[in-house]
């Protein structure tokens, strides 16, 4: 069976130890975690975990059922099963000199990202994008010299209701 990427949206009780139960489930059973994002929601006591994982259909079914089985898990949705919007936020600090600063600013403009910090030898860019677009951007600026990069991992929601 072929493996596919899945974006899981998991609502959990906002309690200490819950993340560890989820991560422990994945490590203990040998499932992949490609990226992971956790934060509070508008509902008190509920956090949302957005996780990207790669698995074949049978493993994916197990992952969902195993997650459900955890007492602190409220809902599990595989967003990739229907229409969803996905974004990731990255902060990218790029090495610049006077001679390529202009070029970088142009690229940032084209992508409609933001410059949030500038220094004599660096520019930090805030990029909110889909995975594919972010990948394209990173490839483009890599030759200039990326000093540091930090990414939130994917977050996503169903489209519509």
């Amino acid at each position: 069976m072929s493996e596919k990427r899945h974006i899981l949206s998991i609502q959990v009780d906002n309690e200490p130890g819950v993340l560890s139960r989820i991560v422990g489930l994945f490590s203990g059973r040998g499932y992949n975690i490609d990226s992971l994002n956790v934060a509070a929601t508008n509902e008190p006591n509920i956090s949302r975990i957005t996780m990207v994982t790669t698995a074949d259909t049978a493993i994916m079914e197990q992952i969902k059922k195993q997650l459900h089985k955890l007492i602190n898990v409220v809902t599990v949705h595989d967003l990739t099963e229907s229409d969803y919007v996905q974004r990731e936020l990255a902060l990218i600090k790029i090495h610049v000199k006077a001679d390529n600063r202009g070029e970088l600013i142009n690229i940032v403009d084209i992508f409609r990202y933001k410059i949030v910090d500038v220094g004599p030898e660096h520019v930090t860019i805030e990029a909110t994008a889909t995975e594919e677009k972010l990948k394209a951007f990173i490839e483009l600026v890599t030759p200039m010299g990326i000093k540091e990069i930090v990414r939130t991992g994917s977050i996503a929601l169903y489209r519509g209701n």
């Binding site: 009780d13 130890g17 560890s20 139960r21 422990g24 489930l25 203990g28 049978a58 079914e61 197990q62 059922k65 195993q66 459900h68 089985k69 007492i71 602190n72 898990v73 409220v74």
Partner: protein, 564 residues
Amino acid sequence: MSAKELTGTKILMKVLKEEGVDTIFGYPGGAVIDIYDELARTEFKHILARHEQGAVHAADGFARASGRTGVCFATSGPGATNTVTGIATAYMDSIPMVIITGQVPTQLIGNDAFQEVDIVGITRPCTKHNYLVKDIESLERILREAFFLARSGRPGPVLVDIPKNIQVMKTKVNGPQDINMRTYKPTYKPNVKQLSRVAGLIKKAKRPLIFSGGGVVLSGASEALVQLARSTNTCVTSTLMGLGAFPGTDPLWLGMPGMHGTFRANMAISQCDLMLAIGVRFDDRVTGRTDDFAPNATIVQIDIDPTSIHKNIEVEVPIVGDCKIALEKLNDLLEKEPEPENAPDRSEWNHQVEAWKKTTPLAYDQKETIKPQYVIDTFFKMTKGEAIVTTEVGQNQMWAAQYYHFNRPHQFITSGGLGTMGFGLPAAIGAQMACPDKLVVDVAGDGSIQMNIQEMATAVEHNLPIKIIILNNRYLGMVRQWQDLFYDKCYSATTLDHNPDFVKLADAYGAKGLRATRPEEVEAVLKEGLETPGAVIMEFVVDREENVYPMVPAGKAITDMLLV
């Protein structure tokens, strides 16, 4: 402070009582000293084990024999870590249990305090759920949830870690309440449409087979299972965990399948056209090579845990629900289901099964040295199949499963999923506490019995008349068997030439010790041992290199059996 406020330890005792607990197994220490102080003023029976692992296995044996929730106390740090094997054992076999551990005071947590260990972190993957109690206000709710979780849905152990300072804080209590956890709603009622499909499949099947497991015992579905098998004249095989739920002396009984299963059970699995898998999880010890497991069958699987379905084996008709409810409903549906016009002729299948039974039954050849099978066989006949049997792990366990025929659920108590050596003796103590009037016998190996031998003191202290049959082959026999068959007889680290004198050991603990070294002594030793009041160790010096057969080598198809 109002008069109705109670301390943490009083709340604990109150909840235990309201949850129907009367027996507690445990071991004290600094972090539970307040709990033990309170316990001294209650009417609970407390069994002081001699090791926390023993306490947990005893609570487990109590739960398995009674169908109730086992309860165990242990202190923080080493007390808590000593419980882990016991908890993992119960978890693998879905046994309802609540483990209460003491923890260092909340203000010290995280500081590497004396006897501090993150037991909630350690037991996360081997409990159904666990809790660290952070404030006195949540204690009562957590304790009630712990019992609810332990015994509902697919049962399992739940650990509650209570810091020492919280044990002595006070708060108001609410009393028993319906527990409603929004994130935990096990599915008990099966889908009726799916069940009617199953009824149809049964009527049309030419070569049907029931394959039942521990879920049948846990849900109390034994009667419904017997009715299903008899009304449809379908033969039955059960996993190690399911033994007893279908009578082992019934003509429809095929014996256990899998690695050390009977020839006929494994053949029936490979040739059936309909498999009703009830309360099983298709463990690799049962399936062998999964590609070759029941290759000709439409598989129906009934289980309360959705993760058990499609995990190891793809099934055509998955049904999530309680085994008992599902089987009772299925029996109803079968009564109403019209006979199909050309009802299949099953005589060929029935003949085939009979033929398998006759050509390759379980067998042994009793010659000049005692055969371990002969001991179990004689023990079975002498006790008329009535004993509650616990086991250790290894060859002894397999011979007990093969040669003692169980007729009741809760009669066979063994560590199936984890295969924990040292389980049988403390489990026998728990079982005897649960069933004071029944004969409880631990079938042991000379290796395993030494893993929790200290519990002899517990048995003697409480006058528990448990009997221990040691099949002494002076080997870690099951490992030696693998070395014999698959490692050129290189008996690396499996020889036990320095065993203690088990008869003297029994004596040292204040129990009775007996030994048989020749076949003609077997009956007399069993008779005397079983009739002697109090705890007894019966040692049988058996044929050292006897192997358990049939055997399916790991990873092979279950029809690839080594027969002798």
